[in-house]
Amino acid sequence: MNSFWIIFFHTYLNKLKSKSFIVTTLLTVVLVLALTNINNIIDIFDKNGGKENVAVLDESGALYEPFKQQLKTINKDINLKLYKGSEKEAEKAVEKGDVTGVIQLRYNAEKLPEATYKAMSIADSSLFTDLQTALQQVKTMQAASQINLDPAQLQKLYEPVSFEKFALEKNAKTEEELNQARGLVYVLLFIIYFAVIMYANMIAMEVATEKSSRVMEILISSVSPIKQMFAKILGIGLLSLTQLAVFLIVGYYSLSKNMESLKDGFFGVYGFGDIPVETIVYAVIFFILGYFLYATLAAFLGSLVSRIEDVQQMITPMTLLVVAGFMIAMFGLGKPDAPFITATSYIPFFTPMIMFLRVGMLTIPAWEAILGILILVATIAVLAIFGARVYRGGVLMYGKSNSYKDIKKALQLTKNE
């Protein structure tokens, strides 16, 4: 077998079998399962199947019915029960856990409803907010009838204003589509961001380990450093794809099983119902290119350090570039057509995230995306050639210093003067 493939498979299989890889993969799978089953999990912890029981002490004798009706339109899961006992008894019931809380309804001096809500804790803000909103509506209705507004007038007053949005550009995404795209792009950006940081780190560590354990000198006397570098980058690349494939398969399987319950929640709003193929294709392209860009950078930075401890320090500037790209992309999620976003999408170190953001969120001409990809490919090629030369010299350099001056030194080492 060609030595390139020997290194490639050695890198891949060794990492695949390593404990840390298996543990992180399993943990993430658990996380993915948890996320896609979130509704089921919430249900398990909710004893009453998500329903809350609230006792009502209606001192006025006339507020219970309208209040119940209003609440029904706001939250069906709150069960109101008219309580006939005294206030003390009701409080006891709360303490015993028979009901979550007790609400006392009465009229104030102006003949308008007011209430006191008592519960063991008032941490569950959504519950009493719902109660409050319902009572507010009851109050509004009764106040309106006090000043002799008829229901039709009242309805006019409260009717929401009609507000429609249109994008004039052809093919521009509608509000709904934009929301969908935003969710998808957000998740994919996260994947790109984490993968680039994690796997680039892995490569730098791999190179530095070989160098610090001094096995490097045997390796480079057997196989050319350039071959080694790319075999490693590809080996870890395959590893990353393996890991992502596991996540995607688990995620997809679990998601399709739980689709029904998730449709109304977060997943529905952010449009995972039907994923546009184009966005996924771009995500894969930018993921792979982004990986190669940063992996090459990481490989040659890793070749410059002599001790593993120095790896983090060496690749910090690279990590900051990734973080910067991610930050800009996060800003761009809200304002994808800002000129600033357009400009940064052509800076190769940011392109994988920001150009992807633009193709995912906006309808940009194909040439813009292609230009971004070309710039990225060209940068990768330049980095690979430059990086390979640094790598070749860097792996022979040992010493305390690990500054960027070493890049120059490493280049000198490979140069014929």
Binding site: I6, E217, S222, V223, L396, Q412, T414
Partner: protein, 299 residues
């Protein structure tokens, strides 16, 4: 399959590591490199292996440069020992052997026989970091020779080993030589080179100060050592014509003389003066030659 270095020079910026080095290393011979730290031995080896490009000059093996197309014929034991600490001995050697173009099962057979030879078969499935330093060195040596190289470059193969292991490794190196490998090795220890090499080169600040066949070097050096143990004072011999250097010893004197003739006349001079327990004429040691040529001892 002659290894030839022709006017090889390597400069790192202002610093000249190797200066106009020309050597011929015949096939199937053992060639020794001597020199203090920083004399340019490792740099020379790296250039031979093609890890570094020479600034000037040419290095050829069998009239071709050594590059990655010949790497399956070359074995290298670097001075800085290093293996994957977390990898098992077996996986490690087989990986490195495969990188040198060997088949997996072939490498396995060869590895087993080496482990047996070094009496460390039980470590086959241990991680390298769990082994003692001496055993790690043996594994390192196996890594350099497992693919049966035709050209073997050993950078300080015996440093840091106990005498028993040095003998074991020496033995292995000699076996490889008998099997037809050309071996180049460097050492701090003069006597290793003296014992094992037909040809040698002493380097000093990147320059070869002595170079050639061991016997030739000794003959050309001319001077010999004369050891006299006697029961009467020998101090007067210090100024005897033909004596280059005199060192008093516990039992007599050690003289460095210009040739056999001088020994003859000294013998005539001292016979009859008293009882002579020892009168021996010896070849100069490499160390003597080194001191003479370089001007200072280094061992």
């Amino acid at each position: 399959m002659v290894l030839k270095l022709e006017h090889v020079t390597k400069r790192f910026g202002q610093f000249t590591a190797v200066d106009d080095l020309s050597l011929t290393i015949p096939e199937k011979e053992m060639f020794g490199f001597l020199g203090a730290n920083g004399a340019g031995k490792t740099t020379t080896f790296r250039m031979i292996l093609g890890l570094l490009d020479s600034t000037a000059g040419r290095i050829t093996w069998d009239d071709r440069p050594i590059d990655y197309s010949t790497s399956h014929l070359v074995g290298y034991l670097p001075e800085e020992r290093g293996l994957y600490p977390k990898l098992k001995v077996l996986d490690q050697i087989i990986y490195l052997a495969r990188l040198r173009g060997m088949q997996k099962n072939e490498a396995l057979i060869e590895l087993k026989s080496w482990l047996e030879r070094f009496k460390i078969s039980e470590y086959e499935n241990k991680k390298v970091e769990e082994l003692s330093k001496g055993n790690q060195q043996k594994i390192q040596f196996i890594a350099a020779v497992v693919h049966r190289p035709k050209l073997l470059i050993l950078d300080e193969p015996f440093s840091g080993l106990d005498p028993v292991n040095v003998e074991m490794l020496k033995d292995a190196v000699l076996t490889l030589k008998q099997k037809g490998a050309t071996i180049v090795f460097s050492s701090h220890q003069m006597h290793h080179v003296e014992e094992m090499c037909e040809h040698l080169c002493i380097m000093q600040k990147g320059k070869p100060v002595v170079h050639g066949a061991l016997k030739e070097i000794k003959r050309e050096f001319g001077k010999k050592n004369l050891i006299i143990h006697a029961e009467f004072p020998l101090d007067s011999l210090k100024n005897y014509p033909g004596v280059v250097k005199a060192t008093p010893t516990m039992e007599g004197i050690l003289l460095q003389i210009e040739g056999e003739r001088v020994a003859e006349s000294i013998l005539k001079e001292i016979v009859g003066k008293g009882f002579i327990r020892k009168f021996a004429l010896e070849e100069p040691s490499l160390n003597d030659i080194f001191i003479e040529k370089v001007g200072n001892s280094y061992e």
